[in-house]
């Protein structure tokens, strides 16, 4: 069985290839820096063994140049790798605007993925090959961590906060998906499959998966059901800020601060309305903490995004 003794994990993206190249090149540097030590230990142990005749005259006890050399040269060599590694890392923080957004909610001990069209899946993530995908993640309880070894990527998933991860998988196939932040009893089985599909297969999969409408449509249902539209709706009186076009726009707050209405701000405003009150409005909105799940919040925010006017890359 080929899988029985694998020595190298599969590479499903360009980033994975680059990380492996960095890893191997840095390994070479490490061997170059450490082999002299290992070889000299062995050579000295034999040549200068006590009682053995050897030239021991003029044994040095210090040497400023040799000290300076082995202090500075290895450090400068590692710095070259530092620059490349940091560049590679910053790439993973800048998703292209065209990225397909998949919402991720983690909880003890399962992963829930929600595609923009409203398709939901548990412990499995299907994505199209060749297209940038951005995961926007939050946790319902403790800290988890989404690990996609085939992409060499990992990101902690925190309660009460959105973190994100983006990638462009290139090689269709089925890969591992695991949790790497210890999260309790069943931590070791909190994982599943990461499936990269050819775009046409992904489109077919989306159709077969079925949906109760897109995330934004489901969000609109919730928006009405929870009574949000009573105050925030288009035809209501001036008790609450209008939400059309708010996503990604600057919001002036009471006290003069201005924040950008990103996912985090909208989520927090639903749960903790008194935290950052929009300027000119009384803090009369009731809290929805405890009434809406993280998944519902994702839908509400998706709806607000859909009425957000021009799409804008929100800073998180």
């Amino acid at each position: 069985m080929m899988n029985f003794f694998r020595v190298w994990p599969p590479e499903a993206s360009e980033h994975a290839v680059r990380v492996d190249q960095l890893f191997l090149a840095f390994s070479a540097l490490i061997f170059a820096l450490s082999w002299p030590v290992f070889i000299l230990l062995a050579v000295f142990a034999i040549r200068y063994r006590r009682g053995r005749n050897a030239d021991r005259s003029h044994a040095p006890s210090h040497g400023i140049w040799v000290e300076t050399g082995w202090t500075i040269i290895p450090f400068l060599l590692t710095l070259a790798f530092f620059v490349y590694s940091s560049w590679l890392y910053f790439q993973t923080g800048q998703p292209p605007a065209s990225a397909l957004t998949v919402e991720v909610v983690a909880k003890q001990w399962m992963w829930k993925f929600e595609h923009p069209g409203g398709q939901r899946e548990i412990d499995e993530l299907h994505v199209p090959a060749g297209q940038p995908v951005k995961l926007v993640m939050t946790s319902q309880d403790v800290i988890h961590s989404l690990f996609l070894p085939a992409l060499r990527l990992k990101q902690d998933v925190l309660p009460g906060r959105y973190t994100s991860l983006w990638f462009k998988a290139l090689v269709p196939g089925t890969y591992a998906l695991r949790c790497t932040q210890f999260c309790g009893f069943d931590h070791a089985v909190m994982g599943g499959r990461f499936v990269v599909m050819r775009p046409e297969d992904y489109a077919r999969w989306l159709q077969q998966a079925g949906t109760d409408g897109s995330l934004a449509q489901q969000g609109f249902q919730l928006f009405r059901k929870l009574g949000c539209s009573g105050c925030h709706g288009a035809d209501s009186t001036h008790r609450a800020p209008k939400l059309e076009g708010i996503y990604g726009a600057p919001v002036p707050l009471d006290g003069g601060r201005v924040v950008v209405a990103d996912d985090q701000y909208l989520r927090d405003s639903i749960l903790y309305p008194a935290k950052d009150v929009a300027a000119g409005y009384a803090p009369i909105m009731p809290t929805f903490a405890g009434q809406v799940s993280e998944s519902d919040l994702v839908r509400l925010v998706a709806y607000l995004k859909s009425i957000g006017g021009q799409p804008q890359e929100a800073s998180r």
């Binding site: 029985f4 694998r6 190298w8 994990p9 680059r18 990380v19 960095l22 890893f23 390994s27 490490i30 450490s34 030590v37 000299l40 230990l41 000295f44 142990a45 200068y48 063994r49 005749n53 050897a54 030239d55 021991r56 005259s57 044994a59 040095p60 006890s61 210090h62 040497g63 040799v66 000290e67 202090t71 290895p74 450090f75 710095l79 790798f81 530092f82 890392y89 993973t92 923080g93 309880d141 403790v142 800290i143 961590s145 070894p149 060499r152 990992k154 990101q155 902690d156 925190l158 309660p159 009460g160 973190t163 591992a176 949790c179 790497t180 932040q181 210890f182 999260c183 931590h187 070791a188």
Partner: protein, 543 residues
């Protein structure tokens, strides 16, 4: 083996061991040498407790489905292993035993600066140790030794509060020991023992003590905040009640990364003594090696964020921590190169102490270099929280700190007990440890890069081969760690009397009797030369 056991030598009759025979004379002693023995016995006990948990873990991981322990049992076993090893073995190991025994001897003093605080520190350690152990065994805790929030505050069941109380208690013992060493080294050096003549062992313990005194209070504060949230639901770390879970990680690693240097710096000091005595050479680049210890202690406070590259901290912060983590490796590398250069043109006695020192250099170098890989963010994102990290820190803590500890045992045993042990058995155990260690932990680097996360009770079958190799290595390691216990204890009665200086080593501790008299020196020595003064090797036969 025809030697007739010597019942008691004249030196032993006059030594600190014979200064009193009652239990009271041991449990109420203020002699730094006796306190060191008390520590030696207690940390050895806790080492074997924590090692048994490791043995259980390795047995359980022989099969992918984990046959021996339940989920909960496994989670509790690795928590017990981590907590007991870190706080009750690794941190006190070399400082509380050999630091205690040797610092006054090495600087020509009769005791540490505060002998009674020294005894108090042992009692606090012992109380904290048993308190924590019982809490872990009876209550059970499954958070891992890192206690990440909000899992530890709001979700974990079990005796979390009791365990962190025990850890907070033992912290005071660390602080007292650190304080004692700092004052001792400043105030009690013999006439002529200038800072430039101080053995490197004392320099590295000085650096260690600075960390103990400065970092340990932060741990206490962090654990008290954790307790406040768990007990009173004060929103400090849990976001559902207004806290910030990353705050805990910042506070925890602000202590726990320097704590790694608390574990490794004393071992580096030991290795310097072992290398110079084993080669009969002065340390190459005394000031570089001495200052490297201080540099490690200082920069070590600025690298905690490399534990948080995937936590959601700012990307810019990650880049800065990455840079600083590469920088902190520089003084360690300086030490490794200087030890190697010290062996050049030396007269190497391949006795157990030097063999352990060489094992330390090899394993520490390998562990340190894999640490450089982890300092590169792009690589760390992939291997973070996998077995790669597990392998890395075991190379440093087991390959490094434990080898250093055993090297110290084999080097100063004749000084402490007055008896020689079997050098052959010592060489065998050094070899076995080196082999068993690599077989245990090298496969874990591969497992980690392949993507096996740490703290997994069950795992995909494709990882089994490497796990079986690792467990096989662990069984060799278990034998290798029990072996010294046998021949060292045997030597207490049957070993040949060692004489004051069996290794022909320099250093004040070798100028007094073995075992040393109660007050160390009959006359306080006057120091008139640098550390590590060995006679110049004879010129080569041809000129």
């Amino acid at each position: 083996m025809t030697a007739v056991p010597v019942l008691q030598t004249p030196e032993e009759r006059a030594s600190y061991i014979n200064a009193g025979h009652s239990l009271r004379s041991w449990f109420l002693t203020t002699d730094h040498k006796r306190i060191a023995i008390l520590y030696l016995v207690s940390i050895t006990f806790f080492f074997f407790v924590a090692a048994s948990a490791a043995a259980l873990i390795r047995l359980d991981l022989l099969t992918p489905q984990g046959d021996i322990l339940t989920n909960e049992g496994y989670n509790r076993a690795f928590t017990l292993h981590g907590v007991m090893m870190v706080w009750f073995f690794l941190i006190p190991s070399i400082p509380a035993t050999f630091g205690n025994f040797l610092i006054p001897l090495m600087i020509g003093a009769r005791d540490v600066a505060f002998p009674r605080l020294n005894l108090l520190s042992w009692y606090i350690y012992l109380i904290g140790g048993f308190f924590t152990l019982f809490a872990l065994l009876i209550g059970g805790v499954d958070t891992g030794w890192t206690f990440y929030t909000p899992y530890s505050t709001m979700f974990a069941t079990g005796a979390v509060l009791w365990v962190i109380a025990g850890i907070t208690i033992v912290g005071f013992s660390s602080i007292l020991t650190g304080l004692n060493f700092i004052v001792t080294i400043h105030k009690l050096r013999a006439p002529g023992m200038t800072w430039g003549r101080l053995p490197i062992f004392c320099w590295s313990h000085y650096a260690t003590s600075l960390i103990l005194v400065l970092a340990t209070p932060v741990l206490a504060i962090t654990l008290i905040l954790l307790a406040a949230e768990r007990l009173f639901r004060l929103g400090i770390f849990d976001p559902s009640i207004g806290g910030d879970p990353l705050l805990f990680q910042h506070l925890f690693w602000f202590y726990s990364h320097p704590a790694v240097y608390i574990m490794i710096l004393p071992a580096m000091g030991v290795v310097t003594e072992l290398v110079t005595a084993g080669a009969h050479r002065r340390i190459f680049g005394y000031w570089f090696v001495a200052c490297a210890s201080i540099a490690i202690a200082a920069i070590g406070f600025l690298v905690w964020g490399h534990h948080m590259f995937v936590s959601g901290q700012s990307m810019y912060a990650s880049a800065v921590f990455s840079f600083l983590s590469l920088a902190v490796a520089v003084p360690s590398a300086v030490k490794v190169y200087n030890w190697t250069a010290t062996l050049y043109k030396g007269e190497l006695a391949l006795d157990p102490p030097l063999l352990f020192a060489m094992a330390f250099i090899g394993l520490f170098t390998f562990g340190g270099l894999s640490g450089l890989m982890l300092a590169l963010v792009a690589i760390d994102v992939h291997v973070h929280d996998t077995y790669f990290v597990v392998a890395h820190f075991h190379y440093i803590m087991v390959g490094g700190a434990v080898s250093g500890f055993l090297g110290a045992v084999h080097f100063w045993w004749p000084k402490i007990t007055g008896r020689m042990y079997s050098l052959t058995w010592g060489r065998i155990s050094a070899g076995l440890i080196f082999f068993g260690f690599n077989l245990t932990f090298f496969p874990q680097y591969l497992l980690g890069y392949l993507g096996m996360p740490r703290r997994y009770h069950v795992y995909p079958p494709q990882f089994q081969t490497l796990n079986v190799l690792s467990s096989a290595g662990a069984s060799i390691l278990a034998v290798a760690y029990l072996l010294p216990l046998v021949y060292l204890v045997y030597s207490l009665r049957n070993g040949a009397p060692a004489g004051p200086n069996p290794w022909g080593a320099s250093g004040l501790e070798w100028k007094t009797a073995s075992p040393p008299p109660k007050h160390n020196f009959d006359v306080i020595p006057v120091v008139d030369g640098p550390a590590y003064e060995y006679p110049q090797p004879a010129a080569a036969p041809h000129g």
